[in-house]
Structure formats: structure tokens, C-alpha cells
Amino acid sequence: MREVAIVSFSQSRHVRRDTRNEVEILMPVVHEVVERSGVARPFDFTCSGSTDFLQGQPFAFVMALDAAGAWPPIAESHVEMDGAWALYEAWVKLQSGEADTALVYAFGKSSPGDLPEVLSRQLDPYVLAPLWPDAVSLAALQARAWLEQKGRSERELAEVVVRSRRAARANPHALLSGDLEVEKLLAEPYLAAPLRRHDAPPICDGAAAVVLAAGDVARRVCKRPAWIRGIDHRVEAHALGARDLTASPSTRIAGERAGVGRGAVDVAELHAPFSHQEWILREALGLGAGVDVNPSGGALCANPMMVAGLIRIGEAARRISDGTARRAVAHATSGPCLQQNLVCVLEGA
């Protein structure tokens, strides 16, 4: 396997509603990641993650290409998915030897539409989408199954929220942060029982970008590259009633294939938009109590759609590069109730 590393990462300050267009949001982020990377343009490969349905505009992703600069013509690809999967495609390209450097970016403007309604369009179009179930209700189905079948408590959900918001106080890009109390959270009304509003992610607009480089290029431009030692993604059946919603088998398999268990994990950035999902992911990845989970605050504090998974990888990479962690795990998810999951293992040496 060819050595590929993340050599820089950048993200916007995530806000509830950003009235700039997608290029205006993305361009400063791309400029920053390129400048920080030390890699000169043009990149051998460019890959982006976003979905046109968020803005309600077909080919919105093509218009965002202005931010990357497509002249002279570039080798470019796009996934209608979280940027974490754009990173995976770029990683594959570098593995093939066809590229030594890649620019990966992602953006999502959820504010123009009704996000739960928009997300319902990703469901089975024959038997599920016509009922228009919203994403929060579906997550709540999973939360209740986990609480009841695993004998867990709503208190454990609140504890995840308290820890996440507190950690986000050190994250200038996060939308939500602060000092909350478990008892006060448990006294709040349900949003979609058994989930409360704070158990669900904030809706926000944002962008992020990462630069990948192979072997010697990475060593030349970066003092401490975050080497991708393993990366894998798996997807489960789309029928919710045919899945085990309480255990995330796809995360477990992806984690095994990525080699999570091959060494001690210092930091794990887990893409858990709902509080109960952090518990499910921890257990699927076999992460013990000593792992620092979501020091960024995680998706509960900022969840720009199509970006939050790439941000988890970037945040984990940053902590490798600044020496905070020797070995980190990053995870990204897509689809209802953790249907599809990507796991990435990063090491500093």
C-alpha cells in the first residue's frame, strides 16, 4: 500500500444560515488549505463531496468548482456524499500511482431548504419516501431500540451532549458550545421521543477542505504528516426493518478492515449526529474509556451536511500533526441510522 498522508486541513466557521453562495463560502477555505499545505497548484487530482438537493439546484456542485480553479483543465471528480468519501476516492487515486497530490473539499448549505424533508428523499422511493418520514424521527427509532434492547439510559445520552458541548468551547468553528448540566438537559421536552433537541445536531451551513499527498511529497511539505494507515467503508441494507439498528455492523467491519484494533487509540473523531449514535459507534469500534472521543465537539456542535464526516478526518489529522495524538481514528457516516460508515486510521509515524 502506498503511503498517503493528510498534510493540511481547513474549515469554515459553521453558522446557522450563511447567505453567501457556495463559492463565496468555499473559496477562503480552499485558499487556506492550499496555503497551509505547502503544495503548489495544480493538484494532480481534485475531488469534492456535496449534494445538490440541499440547495435545490441541480449541478450546484459544478458551480462550486470556481473555488478550486479549473483552468488549465484539471482531473476532477465528485461524489454526491459527504466529503469523507471524496477523500476516499482521492486516496484510491493516489494508491493507483496516477496522482501524488489531491485537493479534497466539501460544502453544504442546508439553510435554504427543510433539511429533514430533503433527507427523506434518500429513502426507499417505493415504500418509505412516499410517507415522508423525517430524519430525526428515524434516528429516534434507533435511539429507542438501543435504549430498550441494550438496557441503556437517557442519562447516557445527556452525558454525551454535556461532554461534547464542553469540548467545543475550544473549537472556534463550532456552532454550539457551552457548559450544560445533565439534569437540566433531562428536564427538557422531547423533540422526537426519546430524543430531545440537544440530542440532535444543529442545522448549519459550512465547508471544509483537506490536502492529501503521497510519500516523499508529504514528507517534503509537512513536518508531521497524518499518515492514513488504514481506510475502509461498508454499507448496510437500505430497509431499516432488515437491519440491526443497535450495533452498527458496517462500522465494526470497516473498523476491523481499517485496522483500528492494531494499536492503542489516543483520539477518535466519530461522526455521530445523534447522541445515542456515539455510544453505538464506540462499541462497534471497540474504543475503551481511555480514548478521547470528539475533542472537537463532534457533529452535535456543528453538522454541516456533506462536510461533517470530512471534518472528523481533518480534526483527527490535525491532532496527529500538532503532536497531541500518535494514533487517531476518524469515522464518517451517511444515510439514515448509520447505514453507511467509513473508518480511517491515522498515525503520526
Binding site: 424533508e117 410517507l131 424521527s137 427509532l141 422526537a192 421521543a193 430497509a239
Partner: protein, 158 residues
């Protein structure tokens, strides 16, 4: 028709509707399912391994192999395996008053169907409760032929 233009943070804003009519061909497996719904029957499909999938799908999600040609009738009643409460229904959802979404394992099925349950109030919902379908007056051969499910007790929810 002119869309009303407003201003948000110094930037122009206007409403925009994305609308597509879509007609989807259902294929032979779902054709059996929807044709049976039109007759107020719910069918599953048996996998090679013997499990009954509801709603039916073309392949066994566990093995990837094609399913058999056996479409046993399931339900009409079943058990709620998990649920969540909708206190403020959205316009396009099955009911206009508060209701539950639930995964329902119909009698004879090995997988659960997702649908709405008209329980009346959140305290009437319980994992393990039995529910039965409430059929729409006019059958059309689509999932909406089941308006929702209701508790399987005398008289139903209301």
C-alpha cells in the same frame, strides 16, 4: 408569476420550489406487493434461507442472492419493535395529528415494516404492542393504501 423577493442580511432572497412528477416502474417483486395491497393484503417474500422479508425485496440483504418466488401473506396484525413520537406532524406525513413512527414486525414476517401508528397519545405507545392496518377507502396499489396502523384493541385508537 413573480416570486416575492426579500432581503436577508443584505442579500436577496426568494422562494424556490423543486417539483418532479415521477412515475416509477416497480418491477415484478414490488408489483406483487402493491397489487396485493390493492386487495387489502400484505405480502412478504421468502428468501432461499427461509426468512420472510416485508416489504419484499428482490434480493436477500444478508446473502445478496435472489429471493424465491414464494410470496406468503403476512399479518395483517403485528408487533411494534421500536417507535418514536411525532408531536408536530409535517404536511406530507400520513397523519395531521400527533402520531408514532414504528417498525412493525407483521405476523409471519422476519423483518419489520416502517409505518405510522395512530395511537392517540404517546402514553398509548409501547414496544411489543400489537397493531393492525387501517386501510384507505380507495385502494390504488401503493404504500398509502395503508393509511396507518392502529392499536389492535377493541375499537382501535379513536
Amino acid at each position: 408569476m413573480k416570486a416575492p423577493i426579500t432581503e436577508v442580511d443584505g442579500v436577496l432572497s426568494a422562494p424556490h420550489v423543486l417539483e418532479y412528477p415521477y412515475r416509477r416502474s416497480v418491477g415484478p417483486v414490488l408489483s406483487r406487493f402493491f397489487s396485493a395491497l390493492r386487495e387489502r393484503k400484505i405480502l412478504g417474500v421468502r428468501t432461499r434461507g427461509g426468512r420472510v422479508l416485508v416489504p419484499p425485496s428482490e434480493a436477500d440483504p444478508e446473502t445478496g442472492t435472489a429471493v424465491t418466488d414464494d410470496f406468503p401473506e403476512v399479518g395483517p396484525g403485528g408487533v411494534v419493535t421500536t417507535w418514536s413520537w411525532v408531536s408536530r406532524p409535517r404536511e406530507k406525513q400520513p397523519l395531521a395529528h400527533p402520531f408514532a413512527w414504528a417498525l412493525i414486525r407483521l405476523d409471519g414476517a422476519d423483518t419489520a415494516l416502517l409505518h405510522a401508528v395512530d395511537a392517540g397519545d404517546i402514553d398509548s405507545m409501547r414496544t411489543g404492542m400489537r397493531v393492525r392496518p387501517r386501510w384507505r377507502a380507495e385502494a390504488a396499489g401503493e404504500i398509502g393504501d395503508i393509511t396507518c396502523f392502529e392499536p389492535e384493541r377493541a375499537g382501535g385508537a379513536r
